[in-house]
Symmetry: C2
Amino acid sequence: MDLVHFQESIEAKKSLLCIGLDPVIEKLPVHLKLNTDPFYSFCAEIIESTAAYAIAFKPNFGFFESLGPSGWYTLKKVIDQIPKDCLSIADAKRGDIGNTAAAYAKAVFDSLGADAITLSPYMGKDSVLPFLEYLNKWSFVLSLTSNKGAEDFELQMLDSGMPLYRKVIEKSLEWSRDQKGILGFVAGATRIEQIEEIYRASESSYLLVPGIGAQGGDLDLLLQSVLAKDKKAIITVSRSVIYASQGEDFAEMAQNEAIKLQSAISSLIF
Amino acid sequence: MDLVHFQESIEAKKSLLCIGLDPVIEKLPVHLKLNTDPFYSFCAEIIESTAAYAIAFKPNFGFFESLGPSGWYTLKKVIDQIPKDCLSIADAKRGDIGNTAAAYAKAVFDSLGADAITLSPYMGKDSVLPFLEYLNKWSFVLSLTSNKGAEDFELQMLDSGMPLYRKVIEKSLEWSRDQKGILGFVAGATRIEQIEEIYRASESSYLLVPGIGAQGGDLDLLLQSVLAKDKKAIITVSRSVIYASQGEDFAEMAQNEAIKLQSAISSLIF
């Protein structure tokens, strides 16, 4: 999806909401567990009931891969189910040397047909560049993530006087010049004190912001930030929407949660 | 595979050779391309012809995933084909927050049945720990990789006076205490000047060492290192073995290359 169509979708839906698809067998509604492909049935119903209020869906590869080889078929079907006016974000956090990175890009953009991917920058330029070469495909590079482990390396100060996550932003921007793809960053909502700094450092790139809800990030605080006002925050919520109910009404309850979130976003930003 | 069995395998085969399985359709022998599953036919023949000289095989997930959903079935069949006296290393470079990391661990260790995985440490402790909780499963954490991009972040100096890749080693060792899994590190053979330092810093952990051959690393230099003498280097060679010939004799020529490498290792180390 190109930038203009994504912006149009944001305006049309008055939303910045991205729904994370993290299916876990123990948490699925009981009546779905006997289906041939419970993860697909679950995700398809969630997508259908919430798509009017969301501008992106983010299937998390780990949960699908935990099914073993059939998981990638499920993933493909789920990605196919995401409406064209929503960004489909492959939350895969890939990162490897050049020729392997190119293979991962082919897997996610060509074979699975996703619009976007999350990338781990540890191995540097050649692990990111092959993704940026795809026209109008999106690469969200991990900068400062929402988890406790972010302190171990991401927040470490370099002797150049800049923390690692800032160096990642600086370098990624450099690599993305003259590329056909769209660069964004992952920045956790639990790091609210750094998120505006990240947004400025990223030269107003789109930020994929997980961490609202189960992980403890505060939506109201996030909505007061410049990146929300600029409509450049892709606010990702997973567990608190998709597991709003584990009963037969799960899709309806997920929709209610999505509506609440979209209303909160819409009333402050649009 | 536990440590004792791996050491026994190294002694029995007088080898430290790991063969990287990086199938690419353009490089496969023509006569295989019409098979139902050319990647499987290719890898199965390579494994069969070289297993007597290797102590590990390392299928690289990117290349299998580039096939789309069927790739994971191929991957499962290839991993099943790796003999029990060889370590099967899932070169997947996963790394995500705790609950997702646990799902990736389940995917690779339980569903695919691999002995080992490569991990990207960017997101810190909770992205690595779930893998270390598996009894006798191996986690090779990226430290200093063989690619050019290693300079971007891995070699950056922290203000604590230590480069990032050393901090990764220090932290990973801390996390692995009292865990049931086995910790190792990935250290590129192109970084020969740092590899003994990495080995010491890792408290003599096994190092998975790619970069010999197509990437320019020097086998003789590596074999003179302490980690080779200690039989703690898992020397990974991919393209120069598996693409030794693209004719019908590819498996035989791969075997010849594997024999050459095993002989070089054996004559200096055993």
